[in-house]
Structures are given as C-alpha cells and as structure tokens.
Subunit: 185 residues, 2 copies
C-alpha cells in the first residue's frame, strides 16, 4: 500500500470521524460506498483492473466523488480488498473437494471470472435517482468482453465510462452528465 501511495493520506494516524457531507453516508469515519460507487468499482474490476496506479486511483476517486464522499484511499483499499478476497474465496471454496471423505458430494461452485485483455466498456451511469430507493438496475451495460486469458496480467485495455443524464430530473440534480473516461495502460 505504500509504494506510490504517498499522497492519499494513508499514513496519517487515524483521521477520525469526518462528518461526511456529500449528502450521503455522513455517518462515521468509515467510508460507506453507495451502490453506484460499488457498481462502478466492480465493473472496473471485472474489466480487469486490479491494481490501479496513483493516477488511476485519483481519477476514479474524482469521478466517484459525485455519488458521495470518497477519498483516494478508499479506492485504493477497495481494490486491494476486492482482489485479495476474490483470491481468498477461490481458495476457500475449492479444495475440500479433493479430500476424499466418506461421502459428502458437496457442491462446488467454481466460477472463474477472469476477464483480462482488451476491453472497451461503455455503460451508462445514471445519477442518483434522488430520494431513496432507486434500485432500478436498468443500467444497460454494453460490454465487450474479450476474455481469453485468465491470468493475472494486465494487458492494455481501455475502459470508457460514459454517463448520460438519464435521470428524470426530479429535484436538485446538479449533476452534469458524468463523463468518466478512464484509460488504463
């Protein structure tokens, strides 16, 4: 986590509570990602992004800051954790199959989801649909997966996030069509 993470405030000792703002979580000293944020991050991960560089992190963080309070370190940690747990999970769900016990057929879901390679992804990110539940997952994702390799390897790929102002314009949506365009390399 160190390396090039000098400017993310990871080192400071316990920034303690920070009252939020951003109109969202505003609840504690711990980042509480919104669904939209998680969605974007997950999608980036699935696109093959594993360990974003400082620049990537800052960019992502900046774009995601629209959906709520977020810091660069949050993005950094998110990827760290997500990656680690993916591996961890794969490691845990796996074996016991090898063990030859008396019985226990046991179901083993072994899902390999390694999409790495050139990926050009374009998806609409609709802004917060105001108020509460806007669970509408109508996000049309046009994904072009070229998953041919399944190893940890970062091939040059490009992910383009384009957010159109799809919201039905309810209240204060001072959100200017988010245009998240990231280029990993």
């Amino acid at each position: 986590m160190d390396e090039g993470m000098s400017g993310f405030g990871l080192k400071p000792t316990r920034p303690a509570a920070a009252a939020a703002g951003g109109g969202g979580g505003a609840k504690c000293g711990r980042w509480n990602p919104t669904n939209e944020q998680v969605k974007v991050l997950t999608d980036l991960f699935r696109s093959g992004l594993r360990t974003p560089t400082t620049d990537q992190i800052q960019k992502i963080s900046s774009q995601l800051s629209f959906y709520g309070k977020i810091e660069s370190k949050n993005v950094f940690y998110w990827f760290q954790n997500h990656k680690a747990r993916e591996r961890q999970k794969r490691r845990r769900v796996y074996v016991e199959n090898d063990h030859h016990l008396n019985h226990v057929p046991k179901q083993q879901h072994l899902v390999e989801v390694c999409e790495t390679g050139r990926v050009v992804e374009t998806l609409q990110l609709f802004p917060v649909n105001s108020l509460a539940f806007s669970d509408c997952d109508q996000s049309e994702k046009t994904k072009v997966f070229t998953s041919d390799e399944c190893k940890e390897n970062a091939s040059p790929y490009t992910t383009i996030y384009t957010c159109g102002t799809e919201m039905e314009n309810h209240y204060h949506h001072r959100h200017p069509s988010l245009d998240l365009r990231l280029s990993f390399m």
Copy 2:
C-alpha cells in the same frame, strides 16, 4: 441504531435471499452450526487456536462436515467472529465500568486458560445420533466460554481430537469413529 439512512445511500438490502432452500426443510442462506460443530470449534478455540490457517480451516471443515453442512468459510468466519467478540466483550466491560452501566451483563466469566507450551488435548466427540433435525438437547446449551488471556502466543501446540465410540454413548451412532486429529504448529 442506523438512523440517518441518508437520502440515497441505501443499504445493500440483500438480494431478497429468495432461494430459501428447495423446500427440503433445510434453511439455506445461513450456516446453522450444530451443537457438535460448535462444541468442536469452541474447544479448538479454547485450546488456543485463534486464527487457523487455510490448511487448518480445510481440515476442520472437512471433519465437521460430517455433522452437517459446512463450508470452509464458515469455519473461517466462526473464528474471526469468536475472537473478535471475545475482545469486544472484554473491552465493553471496561467501558461500562467507568460509565454508569445500564443493564446487567450476561455472563462475565473470565477464565484464564492460557495454554503455553505444548498442549495435547484429547476429547471425545459423541456421534450425532440424530437423523434429521431431532436436536437432542438444545435447550441446554453448555456454552463454556473461557477467555484466554494469552494474546499472541505462537507457541507450538498440538491438539488431538479423538473420537472414541465409547464414552457414555447413547444409542445408535452411525458414523465410523470420527478421528479428528489436528496438529497445529
């Protein structure tokens, strides 16, 4: 507790968990450890096992799978939670000590059983003697929590679980003498 739901930061809301088992009666969705499983886990914990490695988790899970459905991650989470809550409980005591306590604590049994050095523990695991869900004696949960005072002792110890078919057995024990032998090191 969770006031301040925020306008849009809705919680994950859990995807319904509709599955609810295929009508078999087993409430799938959350692991429900049997008394035997809990007993073994608790005993392992008492023996000094705090954070089993992946290998240990596999073994334990495999052995415990006899008593019912269990996955590796269940064992993993169990130890994580158990240790965390031991600590949490103790810390809460300090807090309540200074502050005017509100309610009577449940059980504040603190027994120091710091196993230092080599420990060889042998205990009997009585058979599950129950076919379906006829839990034998659930009303009487003999939960003996013994908080170990030793924090991070990496001293080599060995715990040997030997399930003899003798003991004050009951009736039909339809499992082949479970021989759970774990060696921590």
